[in-house]
């Protein structure tokens, strides 16, 4: 019995499959990040001029949104993992509120990103405008799709948590969804300074 417990502790939280997804996503985005950095060296001036058209403030607000939502999810998972059986209803409701707040922040991220995209499209900027915008749109739209999926996952986690679907000994689904959201956060943590700030 003790051997099983030790083994379990050594494994990362959530389903093992989510970690395969995490590593594949990190590899894919990593290649794009490095590709961006080296393509910039070929036409430095064009990259610097194009970067000026981006809104750094929105990029920063989006970074804050994702960090905050990740924190809220950690609190939600923590609430479920530490709840006592006799207070399971109250704890589930409290955890579902953390998750709902995180989901709403994810929604705000999507709205801000859509406004940024529509502003650029209104200026006639597309994937084929230049190499900078090819990378910018590819990376941010790919990330946008991940956030959209993340919000859908959070909605499902919220419902199941609210209906007392998780208990401390059986919350692997919740942990798996949380890991996915932290991945989305981790990717933006690199994307924001690379695309919006570094020159």
């Amino acid at each position: 019995m003790s051997e099983i417990l030790v083994d379990k502790k050594n494994y990362p939280p959530g389903d093992f499959a989510i970690w395969i997804i995490v590593y594949v996503e990190l590899l894919t985005f990593g290649l794009l990040f490095v590709g961006y950095a080296y393509s910039r060296r070929v036409n430095l001036q064009m990259f610097n001029d194009s970067q000026l058209l981006l809104n750094q403030t929105i990029g920063f607000i989006n970074a804050l949104i994702l960090i905050t939502s990740s924190y809220l999810i950690v609190r939600g998972v923590e609430t479920i993992k530490t709840m006592q059986v006799r207070h399971s209803y109250e704890a589930s409701i409290r955890a579902s509120k953390w998750l709902l707040s995180a989901m709403m922040l994810g929604g705000i991220f999507l709205i801000l990103k859509l406004s940024e995209f529509s502003n650029l499209f209104a200026q006639g900027i597309t994937l084929s405008t230049n190499t900078f915008f090819m990378f910018y749109l590819l990376l941010t739209m790919f990330h946008f799709m991940h956030v959209t999926l993340g919000v859908i996952i959070l909605y499902n986690l919220y419902h199941k948590t609210k209906n007392q679907g998780y208990i401390p000994t059986d919350c692997r689904g919740l942990e798996t969804g949380a890991i996915y959201w932290h991945l989305v956060d981790l990717l933006w943590i690199v994307l924001f300074p690379l695309i919006y700030i570094m020159r």
Partner: protein, 86 residues
């Protein structure tokens, strides 16, 4: 050193704000490029250790995101620091 998740959240906000300030104040030099790379590494490591909760699991699982951060950010740092020939 074990941090509380609130401390981690505060550090992430401060580092993100400092990255924003570098861009806002247009502090573009080799020093600030290195600062951005290192602060991004710290943020990524904090998310991996405390939000993804990898700090107490088997080392091989913890090492993968760390290696990813080191390799990707080092290559980015080199791309920004190497002189560009005319």
């Amino acid at each position: 050193m074990k941090l509380h998740v609130e401390d981690v959240f505060a550090v992430l906000v401060v580092l993100s704000f400092s990255a924003f300030l570098v861009g806002y104040l247009e502090l573009f030099s080799g020093f600030f490029a290195i600062f951005l790379v290192i602060s991004t590494f710290l943020k990524g490591q904090l998310i991996s250790d405390y939000f993804m909760d990898l700090r107490e699991v088997d080392y091989k699982y913890r090492l993968i995101p760390t290696l990813w951060l080191v390799v990707v950010l080092s290559l980015i740092g080199v791309a920004y620091m190497l002189p560009i020939s005319a």
